[in-house]
Amino acid sequence: MLAFAILSAFAVAPLAPWLHRRAPAASSWLLALLPLMVTGYFLTLLPAAADGAVVVRYPWVPGLGIELSFLVDGLSLLFALLISAIGAFILIYSGGYLAGQPALGRLQLLLLLFMGSMLGLVMADNLVTLFVFWELTSITSYLLIGFDHEKGENRRAALQGLLVTAGGGLALLAGLVLMGMAGGSYSLSVLLGEGEALRAHALYLPMLLLILVGAFTKSAQVPFHFWLPNAMAAPTPVSAYLHSATMVKAGVYLLARLSPALGETPEWTALLTFVGGLTALTGAVLAVRATDLKRILAYSTVMSLGTLVLLIGIGSETALAAALLFLLAHSLYKGALFLVAGIVDHQTGSRDVTGLRGLRWTMPLTALFAGLAALSLAGVPPLFGFAAKEMVLETALGTGLTVTLTVVISAALTVVAAGLVGVRPFIGEPSPTPKAPREGPWGMLLGPAVLAGGGLLIGLLPVPLIDALLGAALSAVQGRPAVLTTALWHGINPTLALSAAALLAGIAGYRYWNPLRRSLGALDRLAALAPERFYERAMDGLVWLADRQTRLLQNGDLHRYILTVIFTLLVLVGYTLATRHPLMPEISAQLLFHEAVIGAVILIAAVFAATTRSALGAVAALGAAGFGIALIYVLFSAPDLGMTQVLVETLTVVLLVLVLYRLPGFTRISSRARLLADAGVSALAGATITWLLLLAVEVEWSPTISGFFVDNSQSLAHGRNIVNVILVDFRALDTLGEITVLALAALGVYAMVRLRGKER
């Protein structure tokens, strides 16, 4: 049942385009039923998960210890509920956003696939399962970001996201394998109890670094943060889904998930707090610098992700509780704000905050939900965002001055961003927009209403369900039972003062946004150091390298190709022979006169074929060499081979004569120097082969499997011709492959000759 719930999205997704064709208007609502049902099912699991982790296993590759297994505890349920619940609203919303467009079916398909991948990722218990779903989210998000694939800019953004996150995924894979080796298991539920052993392991640091690269790329931490704002090329429902609750939170999920196993070491704390804090500041500053609604939100998301990583890095009970509160609050208000930005964009045709004013008259409901969500983002009581921010500040105060400063500055800048996105476009005198603004359809308003309203509700009233969920999640992250309440009021204390100070500073910043923005422009000089430049340079370098090596090795000149192959052979085989077997082996074999004559005939025929000017002469020489080889087979106990060789050689000569008499004779087109050089290279290659063969026949490497065939040919396969028994019985499958190749070659010949007949 659990696997069914997680994987159902994959099963339903292919039906989406079909459903969309049949019922364009209703399809989004119908498809949203699936995530709603999944949400309901996950809710029923909450009581069991609150009591401890439940693991459900299905064997997959038992030989390698890989299984499809799912871990249900508070943390995975928290994420799964966010993914499925927000997913339902996103599906409904996209029905309005792309109403009447044929591309909607494809969007629904991709959204469902992405949802399934995310659910698998957060529920996975086996490390390999986790990795597979991790990469699936990278691939599906690539398709989603590049959804409007006709614009080159979007394709570039999608590729950038894919390269950064999938590249990080490779590091993650290495890290997970190290962890599996160190912990002796690939099951998360086992590894979480092995924390002591893992932290003490010699490979702890490489393991940690590799996993952090994976998590940081996914969660857009500095210096990998640049892909996230570019990913705003995606349609807004996609941005809302990927960047509020799901894709970018995957890295945070992984860190939270692994913190009982890898956390609370000096390395862990130092790396996470430093990178997280830096990311929070960077995101906050860049958010205030931006003027595009979606980019402001994107940078604000970078700031939130940084804060989450910072909190997980600190790792105390308060910090983890703050992280979970902040995560939930962020998913709600950021989801709502992205959706609002989409409505504004959809209804007015613009996303530029400098040009959007006074929309509250024409879009009152949108303005209401935007305001609610923005207040929550700014951390104004009585909204849920306030409670979360209080916890964050409390943690920061308990940690140290640097962290406190970081958190307060980014909180103040976040207030500015909240004002820019949720307040500024809606107040003041209306200004002209590309499209005459109208209130959005209610399918699009539903998501913002529920998400923004949820922020208000959780802030105002104690919701037992949320408390239970967050408590269970905290227990899972901490590895021991814990209780968490979403109390709004903590009394008058330094935290409240800090919170008020940040809020006031933010309001002042909003009031004087233009001067603030200009003064922050001074930081733009740092852009030359931006990691995105390194990414671009690396990509340019890769293209340059590919270009050069293609010109060098694959220039279409067969001569060059063959020389490359020969030199590779000479270097690899020659080097091995020269270093490992420098001396000529002792040669002691009896040589009969008639055998020597046959060998000489073959050699002379080969040399004649290579040097003659007559095409027919070369064919005849080839035939002579072939018959000589057939005689060798017969003399050395291979009658079947001899017969085959004679027959094939005859047919070859027939075939060559059939075709080649239509082609011109040989003319000498190469220069004498080229001929001599080629002859030298060929002779060297031939000498290497001779040397190799002399060694091969002298040295007994290892017993062959032929003994089995010789012993069992008669008794098992009732055949006395062992060669034939191998062909048609012991290795029949190989022979089947070979006759298939033969048949294909014949069909190829037939097609090439006959197709031309049709062309004319």
């Binding site: 080629d678 060929s682 031939g686 002399l694």
Partner: protein, 115 residues
């Protein structure tokens, strides 16, 4: 016999590669054929040569009486011979078609037409 065959095979390889390095397509095909013959003989020889004892079980016995030649390389080479014929037929016709389309048997000029 092995040293002599090693020499013969080395010579076959050298001649075949030399032919494949020429610019005429016809030489390329003949070189390819020579090369597959050389490779077959290489496998056969590398497995060890035995005179006059084919891998056959005499009637009434369950396994060869005493020593017998190694059947495995023979099975390998047998199919390789037949397959190389199929490949040759394919290559020859392909080249013939290319010659008809381009009107040259110079590989150097063939390169220019497809870029």
């Amino acid at each position: 016999m092995e040293p002599l065959l090693a020499l013969v095979i080395g010579g076959l390889y050298a001649a075949a590669l030399f032919m494949m390095l020429r610019r005429s397509i016809v030489k390329l095909v003949i070189g390819l054929m020579l090369l597959s013959n050389a490779a077959n003989l290489l496998i056969f020889t590398a497995a060890g040569l035995t005179r006059g004892v084919p891998p056959l079980v005499p009637e009434g016995l369950t396994r060869p009486d005493g020593l017998s030649a190694d059947p495995l390389p023979q099975a390998l080479v047998l199919t390789a011979i037949v397959i190389s014929f199929g490949v040759l037929a394919f290559a020859v016709v392909l080249i013939h078609r290319a010659y008809e389309a381009v009107g040259t048997d110079d590989l150097r000029r063939l390169r220019d037409t497809d870029t």
